[in-house]
């Protein structure tokens, strides 16, 4: 599996024979893996094994990000997401959010731990000044502090809840994002949603917003499943509905097909510009099974 090191051209990995492909339909969503896998938490279920020590995927510099945003604008992108790692560890996060918001509605996925009153004020100003919506997604895996912190680390619950309150008080209506790591319920089951909404209302939020994500067998949970998609699994299924059909991710090393697999060589579609990544994506990873099975999207809604 040696990538061809030619900048600006697609990198064709040697895949096992028979790996099904998802078509490239359009660029709807640009994800920016701004801090790579650099994070101040070390959650047990992290999809890209982020953490504070020796991130295996490097953060991006501001110029690379601004270039990607400009390219995406010219290609008619609909929305932009920042993720990591923890995006608020990046020294340029606020000006980069401002740059993205000049082009498209922008979301940032955060663990909330770095959001203090000063950052919340700055985000509120960005949201008011921008032509498009700014969405802040704060991760919380359980409404119970102990259960949450068993997954996300000591004091993660308290700091996330502080961020939720600070953002809501400024009218930013955070989307609280939970993974089904604690609960075994399915995304169609409303009990998990109801529990989170009730909890957020108890904090005083009048418009609680919740997104539930499935657990993926990748990152720290890699090895939970070795199941892979085959052509037969996709018979009669519209592959254009998969998120990799209309999503691209800019991360260290190139452009990838999906935010779950950003940084993995098998998901890399280009080592150069965004347009060069507009080709079918191999559905090679066990995480692709989860996407296919659940119909999930990493987008807000």
């Amino acid at each position: 599996m040696t990538p061809v090191p030619r900048v600006g051209l697609p990198v064709l990995e040697r895949m096992p024979a028979g790996v099904p492909l998802a078509p490239f339909v359009r660029l709807t969503t640009l994800w920016i893996q701004i801090t790579g896998t650099w994070c101040n938490l070390e959650c047990v279920h992290c999809i890209n094994a982020s953490g504070p020590r020796d991130p295996w995927l490097a953060p991006l510099d501001g110029d690379t990000i601004r270039r990607a945003i400009g390219e995406a604008e010219a290609l008619g992108v609909k929305d932009i997401y920042f993720t990591g790692g923890e995006p608020f560890l990046h020294p340029e996060i606020l000006p980069l959010l401002a740059s993205a918001l000049e082009v498209a509605p922008t979301s940032v996925l955060t663990n909330g731990t770095r959001i203090n009153a000063r950052i919340a004020d700055a985000l509120a100003k960005l949201a008011v000044d921008a032509p498009y919506s700014l969405e802040i997604r704060v991760s919380l895996d359980d409404v119970d502090p102990d259960l949450n912190d068993r997954v996300r680390g000591r004091r993660a619950w308290a700091r996330a809840v502080r961020a939720i309150r600070l953002l809501d008080a400024r009218g930013l209506l955070p989307i609280v994002t939970a993974t089904e790591i604690v609960s075994a319920e399915s995304p169609d089951d409303t009990r998990m949603y109801d529990r989170f909404r009730d909890f957020l209302r108890s904090l005083g939020l009048e418009k609680p917003r919740v997104k539930i994500m499935p657990v993926f067998p990748v990152g720290r949970l890699a090895g939970r499943s070795t199941e892979r998609l085959a052509e037969d699994d996709l018979a009669g299924f519209d592959r254009g509905t998969l998120q990799c059909a209309e999503t691209r991710v800019v991360a260290a090393g190139g452009v990838y097909a999906c935010p779950i697999l950003a940084g993995l060589p098998g998901a890399r579609l280009s080592t150069g510009d965004l347009a060069a990544s507009f080709r079918p994506a191999p559905l090679y990873h066990p995480a692709c099974v989860t996407c296919h099975r659940t119909g999930m999207s990493c987008r807000n809604y």
Partner: protein, 267 residues
């Protein structure tokens, strides 16, 4: 895409999202006639949310309304399992399922066939302006084009690909108009099926006039909302639907609202 432009007009009325609201439809058509429009267009979604689905079809036909298909119309006519509204939250989907099952089982086969024969897009000329009409977006029937989440770059791309200067859409339930650099315009014409989450009970449609510059007027429609709310209750539909009609605040299908639009509402 380059296609023969459709018929030419000077002044048209355009609405979306009837959602079984025959009372608002009747009031809107009467209002449009008084405004001297040459044609009336509907951007789809005849069903959903309200009572007595079959009551809207005679009004549409007798009013000479030129309609296109919305996601609801596509689903009802094709006998699909759900409305294809594009919701992702389970609470939103719960209410969408109730509306769809109610509407699907009460839409006659003749009306389903009529919905199935509607085109997905229409093109007209409004004076010098080439106009493309769609339900959600030109590319996806149930794509949500909210004011706060639709970038200029995407709109320019749509207009370029469609060889049009004016894009008309609906689907979200909240109207907006954005002039673009050059001669471009994007207009979400709103819906007449339910109020637009601003605490007012009226609904909205749009009148477009070539003067020859494009003039876009959003027109409020006041109708007998109290009767509609009572009919919703008599039909055993969720009380949340009647509450929205009576208060002007959305109580369901809220979770896909972007933060800016959500912040303006009550819930």
């Amino acid at each position: 895409m380059s296609e023969t432009p459709g018929p030419e007009y000077r002044r048209i009325a355009v609405f979306g999202g009837v959602y079984n609201n025959a009372l608002a439809l009747e009031a809107m058509l009467a209002d449009a006639r008084r405004r001297d429009v040459e044609a009336v267009f509907c951007l789809g979604d005849m069903g959903g949310f309200g009572p007595h689905p079959d009551r809207v079809f005679p009004l549409l036909r007798e009013g000479g309304v030129l309609a296109i298909q919305g996601n609801y119309d596509e689903s009802v006519s094709a006998g699909k399992a759900d409305c294809g509204c594009g919701y992702t939250d389970p609470r939103d989907n719960h209410f969408a399922r109730i509306s769809y099952e109610y509407t699907f089982t009460r839409t006659s086969s003749d009306n389903r066939a009529w919905l199935g024969a509607l085109p997905r897009h229409r093109r007209v000329r409004l004076g010098p302006h080439r106009v493309l009409m769609c339900h959600g977006s030109p590319r996806v029937i149930n794509e949500f084009l909210w004011e706060s989440t639709t970038p200029d770059g995407l709109l320019r791309r749509f207009l370029g690909e469609q060889a049009a200067e004016v894009l008309l859409c609906t689907h979200t339930g909240i109207k907006w108009h954005r002039p673009l650099p050059g001669d471009g315009h994007a207009v979400n014409v709103g819906v007449i099926g339910r109020p637009e989450n601003d605490g007012s009970t009226n609904v909205w449609y749009t009148v477009l006039t070539a003067e020859p510059d494009l003039r876009v007027e959003f027109v409020p429609v006041h109708y007998d909302f109290d009767t509609l709310a009572r009919q919703i209750e008599q039909e055993g539909l969720p009380p949340e639907f009647a509450e929205t009609v009576r208060t002007g605040w959305w109580t369901t299908c809220l979770e896909n609202l972007p933060t800016r639009e959500r912040a303006r509402g009550k819930f």
